[in-house]
C-alpha cells in the first residue's frame, strides 16, 4: 500500500488531485488529510487592515468619482505632449522666418555701402586706429 506523498497532498490542497481509493482505506493518509485541511484553513486568516487607512482610501475613491478628470493621467500626459509639440514646432519654424529689420532698413545698408566706397580701408580696421590715437 503506497501512501500519498507530500507532493500528492499539495496537489490535493490546491484542487489538482482528487481523493482516490487509497484515501478511502488508509487511516494514516486520512489523518494527514484532516490535519492539512485545518492547516489550510489557518492560512485564510487575513491580516487586519487599519480602519483609518481604509477610510482614507474610500475618501480618495469618492473624490475620484466626483472629480473624474482630476486624476486622469492620460489627460495630464496629453496636455504635456501638446505643450512639448508646440515648443518643438515653434523652434523648428523660427530659423526660416526672415528678419523684418534686414528687409526694411534699406537706407542703413545704402549709407554703409556709400561710407565703404569713400574710405580706402575696410571699416572693420577703424577701431584699431582708435587704439593708437592720443
Amino acid at each position: 500500500m503506497k501512501h500519498w506523498t507530500e507532493n500528492d497532498f499539495q496537489k490535493w490542497l490546491y484542487g489538482l488531485k482528487e481523493e482516490d481509493a487509497h484515501l478511502q482505506t488508509c487511516s494514516e493518509c486520512r489523518t494527514e488529510m484532516e490535519r492539512l485541511r485545518l492547516a489550510r484553513r489557518r492560512t485564510f486568516a487575513a491580516p487586519e487592515v487599519s480602519e483609518d487607512f481604509l477610510a482614507a482610501q474610500r475618501r480618495n475613491i469618492h473624490n475620484r468619482l466626483n472629480h473624474p478628470n482630476r486624476n486622469f493621467a492620460p489627460l495630464r500626459w496629453g496636455f504635456s505632449v501638446a505643450m512639448l509639440l508646440l515648443v518643438v514646432v515653434g523652434l523648428t519654424l523660427t530659423p526660416f522666418r526672415k528678419s523684418p529689420v534686414a528687409l526694411t532698413n534699406d537706407e542703413q545698408l545704402y549709407s554703409d555701402l556709400a561710407a565703404m566706397e569713400q574710405t580706402s580701408e575696410p571699416k572693420a580696421i577703424q577701431p584699431l586706429h582708435r587704439l593708437f590715437e592720443k
Partner: protein
Amino acid sequence: MMGAMADRLEVSLDRGASTREFGAWMTSEQKRIFLLCKRMLQDIGEADSATQDTFVKAWQALNRPESKELDNPASWLTRIAVNTCLDRLRSRRWQFWRKRPAPEDEETILRLAPSDGPSAEDRIFAAQIGDRLESALDKLSLRQRAVFALRHYEDRSLAEIAGILELDVGTVKVHLFRAIEKLREELHDLYFRDRGTK
C-alpha cells in the same frame, strides 16, 4: 473563506447605481480587494492605488449606458482588480528605479488578525511563513501569480478562477501546477514543517 464572504453579498448593481449603494458595496469588498492587490503587487502604496483604480473602473463601467446586470459582482470586481494589478506588474518591469516600500509603513496598516485558535507564538510563526510565501510570489509569472493568489488566498475553485481570468480550466491547472512547483519550499514549511517525515 474571503471569496465565500464576497459571494454571499447579493449586491444588485443596476445601471446608474447610486453613489450610496456603490459606497456600501465598496466598503464590503474593499478589504478583500486591497489584500488581493497587496498580494499581487507586494507593495502597500501600489496596492492602495490599484484598489482605488479598481473601484473607479467598476463605477465607470456600471454607469456606462451599455452596461449589463451582473451575475456575480464579486467575481467581476475581482477580474477588474486582477487585470489592474497585471497591468501594473507589466509596466513595473521597466521601472528599475522603483522604491521598495518601508516595512514600518506596512506594519501601521496591516496587523495580524486576532484569533482564539492557535497560540500567539504559532500565529507569529505562521505569519512569518505567510510573509515568506508572499515574497516568494515574485518567482511566479504574472498569470501564475494571479492564479495562485486567487486559489491560495481567496480559495476560489479552478472553474471560478478560469471565469475571472477568462482562461479555460486546463490552462488554470497548468499555471497552478507550475506555481506550486516553484513555491514547493515555502509550501512545505507552511504545511509540513511540524509533521514527521513519511
